[in-house]
Amino acid sequence: MRGANRACAERSVPSRGRSGADLREARSSPSLVVAAFGVFAIFAPLLTGCGAGDAPGVAGGPVAMRRLTESQYRAAIADVFGPEIEIAGRFEPDGRRDGLIAVSSAFVTVTPSGFEQYEGMAREVARQAVSEPLRDRWISCQPSDPAAKDDGCSEALLRRIGPRLLRRPLEAADIAPRVAAAGRAATELSDFHAGVELIVSSLLVAPDFLFRIEALEDDAPPGEPLRLTGASLASRLSYLIWNAGPDDALLARVAADELSDPEALAQEVDRMLASPRFEAGVRALFDDLFQFDAFDELGKDPIRYPMYSAKVAADAREQTLRTVVDHLVEQDGDYRALFTTRRTFMTRTLGPVYALPVRTETGWEAVELPASGPRAGLLGHASFNMLNAHPGRSSPTLRGLFLRESLLCQSVPPAPADVDFGLFNADDDPKLRTARDRLEVHATHATCRNCHKLTDPIGLGLEQFDGLGRARTAENGAPIDPSGDLDGRVFEDAASLGEALAESPLVPACLVENAYRYAVGRVATLDERPLLRHLERRFEAEGHRIAPLMRAIALSPAFQTATPASGEGQERS
């Protein structure tokens, strides 16, 4: 917590001019102190004093080239051509690194079969987009002859959708070849709209659509930070806040080169946070953080869990996301309270899992979970307990691992290869009726204990919920003991484990760390650590509310600047 204060103190070091090359040298220097001094010195011009709440002038880490995730691809198509467009095709798996798809997206590429799918989807989207009446949504000009080419109309519609799909103002090289190719197709097929289809397809398979390629301004004077180009910054903002590409208003700011003006930038960020689309952004962040993409592959044993269905799984996921968005966006609530709140949402499908009557026949209704029941906060939701479990039973280890890694940002070492499984209690031993009995060896044997002491004791706190997330008090006829301790804080059951998490300073710090990773597509660099400390303090000072956190990230100097990636092709003097 003191890091940010120290960073502020260091900012008073007099500025010394340094070039980008020096910066790179400093970053690779073994002496972090020297590196940190160098970086703070460079950013002195950005700083406006060290009063309460100013982000430390830290240089952002390397830029990223991120492949659009499936949800981002879908959002782009719906934004530009309308939500009616059906996207048929299979996306390459997004992967997960450092806990997030957002980080993996800066790592994955496109394989031959993945590209084949993108190309097929592009043609299918294009075909629908130019069909009646959907074309009227976005094609504003009328071709002079629908059976012939019309370069003017082609160019006009390209200028309309191009910037939205490529997330930047168009250049001449984007326009002329496409208009010419569309003209040839229209002439050959005697169909103006065949040419339009070609334009749409060509945008949807372009690398600068499928990848968010971040670029740096190359005209910064020596000693100044390397700023992201306006278009790259706009994409960072809109994907952070909306999980979608920049809208027309934001692109207009880019075209007018206004985002380098701190006031205009702050105005834009506030506009975006106030937009209804902010909900989708928050939803995407937590869907990623909670690893809810795993719902797509979830299966449960139908004999042990006859209540399970794809609809139950989908509703359980949605229940949690609704609860998060309602609490953090609608109510503007404290993030920590998510671990204790009994307010949530139900459908008729979920009712039996929660053993609750649901009055609303279709759709969702807000409910207050009974105070007498075992469920409070997100950890009592069926979603986590269903996801972090085996097909036929619960798993305290998987649940504990999730809590450690995703909610507390602690790393748990992988299992050693040479474990003597002869030590392990056979799970069909009739004397071992509860998970706690069966996992005893984890706690008593040194090889196991080293890692399992991190996962099992807290995971056992959720044993009140079975592999589907239904409440229970006994397993195989033996009563379940859900008590334990979270790093010294004793808890009695799942609800009080939630309270322990709500009290832990690690929980909000972990959200800050993950939100920053999510924003920039990589883990924070060492240079950025002071910024994280600062963001933690801001988050705390502003009641652990999500919108101010996003705002603080978006307006921090590190978010707007970057050091070039290694082997940078960009020429700088």
Binding site: T111, S202, G392, A417, D420, D427, D429
Partner: protein, 450 residues
């Protein structure tokens, strides 16, 4: 409607120049046109029958003392866990005792064994040394003339569980169902080589021009990128070029292929980890794949029957194959874990039926399998201890008479990179040594070479 007809007719006219000389109809009597006098090459082109390579993976290994044969050579007796391959025994060689040599590297459980066998060495971290896998090396050499460079499929329905990769950031995703595999190969874009009449799809040229537009813009996109991202963009453009080549192939009539016929569209099979579903999905996939090979749509394939750390289970059981290998007690009388071993037997049965399906398609004077070699492997031997020593490995098919089937070779703890090296050489790659660090080798397994 009239509008669309006009459009199609016009495009066909404009295409006529492109396909002139490719032969719009086949006039010869049907069967005589396929093969040369020796029956080992296509009469139409004089090209030899296509040679193919595939991998077939299943998770969680076996019980070494019940799987490894005692005798070497052709007369070996089938062991209890190899009994399921009895029906295809003449087509299969067993390689026991080959290992991923750790030489100080960590055994990343359920990963080192499979990545080690496929890349020729123990991965040093959880992400590095992750590619290219041997199938990618082979498809680089032989995959360029077919519609698909390679086809990946996962019978357990999880596209992520694919091991085929050029690098860790370019993992070839697997088709999760027999139906999706069918639609990918035999859906729109498929040209039946025996259709007699060939009419190029008029939309293909449009698709090509879209790809050209993007390809021509490459330098501009690339100029901002650092090295790592440039390599990723290279992957993208490699993929784009492959599609361009696929489209070019679709503009000319393919040579007729005797063994090729279009399979029936598979029905919906539930995707789950229930071993009964996986077996059904696998068999339906194998049938589609066999005809995809017979129609020369690809020459390289990768089948995943179950994942490493296999999640397969039987309906009603709280356990999976993987959890059983660690948690089930050994039956003192039997000397192994009976429930976990059932999954080994199901996996061996599935492998045998896979081989049987490839061997059931007649091609030339023999079968499809004769022109193919398939590597069957797993990520562990004894899954209970995560052992990567003495991995279960089998080869099926002779790759056009180059590999000896029906024998058992004992590897005595030598590197599995010898298997990968042998396979590359059999597939015609000019490779003298392969593998890295402790696993590097220049010794193919001569016992199985003809």
């Amino acid at each position: 409607m009239t509008h669309r007809i006009t459009r199609r007719r016009l495009l066909e006219r404009s295409l006529r120049g492109v396909v002139a000389g490719a032969g719009l109809s086949v006039g010869l009597p049907y069967l005589e046109i396929f093969l040369n006098a020796n029956g080992d090459a296509l009469a139409a082109t004089g090209a030899p029958l296509p040679r193919r390579f595939g991998t077939w993976f299943y998770g969680c290994g076996m019980n070494p003392h019940r799987w490894n044969p005692s005798e070497e050579g052709a007369g070996f007796a089938l062991t209890p866990e190899l009994m399921p391959i009895e029906k295809v025994r003449p087509h299969v060689s067993v390689l026991s005792g080959f290992s991923v040599l750790l030489a100080g590297e960590t055994n990343h459980v359920h990963r080192t064994g499979v990545i080690g066998t496929l890349t020729g060495g123990a991965p040093t971290t959880t992400t590095e040394n992750d590619g290219p896998t041997v199938d990618v090396l082979i498809s680089d050499a032989i995959g360029g003339t077919t519609r698909f460079r390679s086809l990946e499929m996962a019978a357990h329905g999880l596209p992520k569980d694919s091991f085929s990769r050029r690098s860790e950031s370019a993992i070839n995703p697997a088709e999760p169902t027999a139906l999706s595999l069918y639609l990918r190969v035999f859906g729109p874009g498929f040209t039946d080589p025996n259709a007699g009449e060939f009419t190029p799809d008029p939309r293909v040229l449009l698709r090509k021009s879209v790809l050209s537009l993007v390809a021509e813009d490459r330098a501009r996109v690339e100029k901002q990128l650092g090295q790592a991202d440039r390599a990723r963009l290279d992957e993208y453009f490699t993929a784009l070029r492959q599609l361009e080549r696929q489209l070019e192939l679709q503009l000319s009539a393919p040579p007729p292929l005797e063994a090729c016929r279009v399979p029936e569209q598979p029905g919906e099979i539930p995707i789950s980890q229930d071993v009964d579903h996986v077996v059904r999905n696998h068999e339906a996939m194998a049938r589609v794949l066999a005809l995809a090979l017979a129609c020369d749509q690809t020459r390289v394939f990768n089948v995943v029957f179950s994942a490493g750390a296999s999640g397969l289970h039987t309906a009603g059981s709280p356990d999976t194959h993987h959890t059983l290998t660690h948690e089930e007690a050994k039956d003192p009388a039997l000397g192994y874990q009976p429930k976990a071993t059932q999954f080994v037997m199901r996996s061996m049965e599935a492998w045998a039926s896979f081989v049987e399906i490839l061997a059931s398609v007649r091609e030339g004077d023999g079968t499809l399998l004769d022109q193919t070699v398939v590597l069957c492997h797993s990520e562990t031997s004894d899954a209970n201890s995560h052992s990567v020593s003495g991995l279960p490995i089998m080869l099926a098919g002779t790759a056009g008479g180059r590999i000896r089937n029906g024998i058992h070779v004992r590897g005595a703890g030598e590197t599995t990179a010898r298997v990968g090296l042998t396979l590359q050489q059999v597939m015609g790659l000019p490779v003298a040594k392969w593998g890295f660090k402790a696993n590097e080798t220049s010794r193919p397994i001569s016992e199985i070479l003809v």
